[in-house]
């Protein structure tokens, strides 16, 4: 016989104004198994909770029903109170007689009767509740950081400085990301590489950090605290231990005309190359697609000139297994590729370039040594047009969002141009200037007032070439939408920031969700901005949405704190409301027949195969088994299981069945 306590809350008058709480308490007392019943003004108040705790002890209650507000509000409160009184918290249930009853119905008998029904349902349910213990999972205190841009670097350093191990995986031959391509940064105009390269070096030298460049994550198994990651280290055709980074091979390589990715195609590189002079690690890789040896079977100049004999033509990709407790995704963003703007002739006219290309032109270490020269003929453009929102805020092109960083970098570009070409005129076509940020608005004003940038409010309709000039057709909406035509020497498009190429595939590999634009999705837009929906996987930087440097760094530090918090305990504690496959005595073992139709319904890959073996080690039965670390408790498997072999704590078959029975049979 159960000893259940029922506590009916008035919630001030929120409930008692329409529900006769005394009567509900009274009727509940008559229910079978109810030992104690009362009503009280504010159950969630301190005195209310104290009363609850005392009643548990005094009446030796083995189940509690609090009839009050929504369990989504106070279930944790009352469960905690029960726990403090020595009752297993999972033996406490709530009846929602406020949101689902007193607030939505008028004051009459029916409303009170409904409240009574709702209490009865929970009393019956709680009789079927089981005492549950929270789940403990061990934690591997190593973090995997995917992506070695500024966000990844920040996250890795923060975590490593907390004393935890970090493995960083970078796709490119060098870390540094987009920030290493930038010339100067807004709003301070400090040199991007000057502030970034010391951090890059720190990564390479940190005792807690292992760096894999030219490597990609291939597979992720496991769950929070216990991820198992397979990383493919692409072959660099090089023995990194022997290579001293002298660079002789790169100067002697006969292949010299490969478009340089780092220079966004504005310069060339050899087939064995270091992406840029400050690269970390500063050791070359062979680009096999363009290497003469791999194409034609002979050359090997690099091997011949290498003083330490470090070239390895037959080196193969290597698969590395990593165990990590947490993962930080810091894979960054990309800018829209050409062909997206046929009306702007991007990809067709050499002198229509994107913002990142302009960064390289403006960079002292870039292909023009920092001089602004147009790609077609190397002339210094006297009229330059910057087009903001090239692709952004353009639903017709599939990008509804604002790329956020373009207003600022366009102002910076205009400024840098004017600083380098004093007699030139920069024009900016814009729709709105979004300069929210410390010193941002001031920066834009400077570009307009001091550097005399011509800001024209309107969008460019088309750009075409005529007699060596680029005709930019726009409109000035502040002049009655009057058409404007500028004969420009060069055009820079502030192309939209988009999700990184391959983001979708990576999201699927890592099992995190992503939004319609393929940016990784945060768990909550406000309160969980660096978490993902998958426990133990965090986000840093522009892989989540376009972000500027300070924001990326802030997010990275945020993600690092989340990882550090996770690593502060040796074990994780989780709510035990998860699915479980029943077990029975041999020879049956379980009513599970091992059809595994449940396996593909699980959104969390939480259903595993368990092999039952006899004494000789032969498999005699294969059963489904729920991984406690992965299961999130949706119960989709439970409803699918024909034999009812899987059940779920908190919403078990017994519990829901009983609820329906109790609800309909008063």
């Amino acid at each position: 016989m159960s000893r259940i306590g029922v506590f009916v809350c008035h919630c001030g008058e929120n409930i008692s104004a329409t529900v006769n709480c005394e009567k509900v308490a009274q009727i509940s007392k008559e229910l079978k198994g109810v030992e104690f019943s009362t009503d009280y003004k504010y159950m969630c108040s301190d005195p209310g909770q104290t009363m609850l705790k005392e009643a548990i002890k005094e009446h030796k209650l083995d189940g509690v029903v609090v009839a009050a507000c929504s369990p989504r509000m106070h279930e944790p409160t009352f469960r905690k109170a029960c726990s403090e009184a020595g009752l297993n918290p999972y033996l406490c249930e709530m009846s929602n007689i406020r949101e689902h009853c007193s607030w939505v119905h008028p004051k009459d008998d029916l409303t009170t009767e409904k409240a009574e029904d709702l209490v009865r349902v929970m009393v019956e349910k709680v009789k079927k509740n089981k005492a549950l213990n929270s789940i403990k999972v061990p934690v591997t205190k190593t973090a995997l950081v995917i992506g070695g841009g500024v966000a990844g670097i920040q996250a890795a350093l923060d975590i490593a400085n907390c004393g935890h191990k970090v493995v960083m995986v970078e796709k490119q031959p060098s870390i540094g990301g987009h920030m290493s391509q930038l010339s100067e940064t807004f709003p301070t105009l400090d040199c991007s590489q000057c502030i970034l390269t010391p951090r890059m070096v720190e990564i390479a030298q940190h005792p807690n950090i292992t760096l894999y460049t030219y490597a990609e994550v291939e597979k992720v198994d496991g769950f929070i605290g216990n991820f198992k990651i397979t990383v493919r280290k692409k072959s660099k055709s090089l023995d990194e231990h022997l290579c001293t980074g002298c660079g002789l091979c790169t100067t002697k390589c006969p292949q010299k005309k490969i478009p340089n990715e780092f220079e966004r195609g504005l310069g060339f590189r050899p087939a064995i190359y270091v992406p840029f002079p400050q690269a970390v690690p500063n050791k070359p890789v062979i680009d096999r697609e363009n290497c003469t040896y791999y194409i034609k079977g002979k050359c090997k100049v690099c091997e011949i000139v290498c003083p330490t004999k470090a070239i390895r033509f037959d080196q193969e990709d290597e698969l590395v297994e990593i165990e990590a407790g947490a993962i930080v995704l810091a894979t960054g963003f990309d800018v829209l590729k050409s062909d997206f703007f046929p009306e702007y002739g991007y990809g067709k006219y050499k002198d229509v370039i994107d913002g990142l290309q302009f960064e390289r032109l403006a960079s002292a270490s870039g292909p023009t040594m920092g001089e602004i020269r147009r790609p077609s003929d190397g002339q210094i453009p006297k009229k330059i047009v910057f087009v903001a929102c090239a692709g952004s805020r353009d639903p017709a092109k599939g990008i509804e969002y604002c790329s956020k960083i373009c207003c600022m970098y366009t102002a910076k570009h205009a400024m840098l141009y004017k600083h380098k070409v004093h007699d030139g005129t920069p024009y900016v076509f814009y729709m709105d200037i979004r300069a929210g940020g410390k010193m941002y608005e001031e920066f834009v004003r400077r570009a307009i007032v001091e550097d005399e940038t011509q800001y024209i409010r309107g969008r460019v309709s088309t750009i075409y070439e005529k007699n060596g000039k680029l005709i930019v057709k726009g409109a000035d909406t502040l002049m009655g939408a009057e058409p404007v035509e500028i004969e420009a020497d060069m055009v820079v498009l502030a192309t939209a920031g988009v999700a990184n190429h391959g983001a979708e595939a990576l999201a699927q590999t890592v099992h995190v969700s992503y939004d319609a634009y393929k940016f990784f999705a945060e768990a909550h837009p406000k309160l969980k901005p660096v978490e993902t929906n998958t426990a133990g996987i965090f986000l840093a930087g522009a892989c989540q949405a376009p972000k500027d440097i300070p924001e990326s760094v802030a997010a990275a530090s945020g993600a690092a704190v989340k990882v550090a918090a996770l690593f502060s305990n040796d074990e994780l504690t989780r709510e035990p409301l998860i699915a479980v496959v029943n077990r029975q005595a041999p020879p049956v073992f379980s009513s599970c027949v091992g059809c595994f139709l449940c396996q593909s319904v699980c959104p969390y890959q939480a259903i595993e195969r368990e092999e039952i073996k006899n004494r000789n080690g032969e498999v005699i039965k294969t059963l489904a088994k729920v991984n406690e670390g992965l299961c999130q408790g949706c119960g989709t498997c439970v409803a699918l299981c024909r034999t009812k072999a899987i059940d779920i704590h908190g919403y078990s078959n017994q519990q829901v069945y009983t609820e329906v029975m109790a609800l309909l049979n008063d």
Binding site: E343, C389, G458, T462, A475, T477, P483
Partner: protein
């Protein structure tokens, strides 16, 4: 949902236009790309993006200005605005609607007389014969506009080249066409 919304706000200008054309005026965020690409915006009194802005004000005075504008008659429905509009706003359709309303409200711009006359002559020709009778239409147009001497120089050359058909092609279903004209006129549209 939208129906009940409309009931609460009976016929704002933008509401009416939305009902008639499906175009949501407030989608326009005034980027000006339409005005920039419009082949005729330099000749228009109000370039397309300004038309959108004027409609957004929901001010009858602005609406009136548009019905009396040259813009709506200069628009050649080349659809460049729609093609490049980031919001995919169907301005050409809006222009059609404004033209029809302008005629119905008898507010057409005097300078647009020739353009409207051309359209009317064109439709008359179809009404009578089922097809466009170019020569007849041009004569009709000249009668309407008084531009008697326009293009007299090229007509003989065209005739020689076989480009002017002296006899109208009259289709068998001519009556059917006349019925169509009758029916659409009864449907409260523009008097033709």
């Amino acid at each position: 949902m939208s129906a009940s919304h409309d009931q609460h706000h009976p016929m704002t200008l933008s509401g009416e236009l939305r009902m008639d054309t499906g175009v949501i005026i407030n989608k326009c965020y005034q980027c000006g790309k339409c005005s920039a690409g419009c082949p005729l915006s330099s000749e228009m009194d109000y370039p397309p993006s300004l038309v959108m802005r004027m409609l957004q004000t929901d001010d009858p005075k602005n609406y009136d200005k548009l019905l009396k504008s040259m813009t709506i008659w200069l628009c050649v429905s080349c659809e460049m605005c729609l093609t490049r509009c980031p919001m995919e706003i169907d301005i050409p359709r809006l222009m059609d609607n404004l033209r029809q309303k302008s005629v119905r409200a008898k507010k057409t711009n005097p300078q647009a007389k020739k353009i409207i006359a051309f359209h009317k002559s064109f439709l008359d020709s179809i009404n009578y014969t089922g097809r466009l009778y170019e020569m007849g239409m041009v004569v009709d147009y000249k009668m309407r506009t008084g531009a008697m001497t326009q293009d007299v120089m090229i007509a003989p050359k065209m005739f020689v080249k076989g480009k002017l058909n002296p006899i109208p092609e009259i289709i068998k279903g001519r009556k059917k066409i006349a019925e169509i004209f009758n029916r659409v006129q009864n449907n409260k549209e523009v008097k033709l």
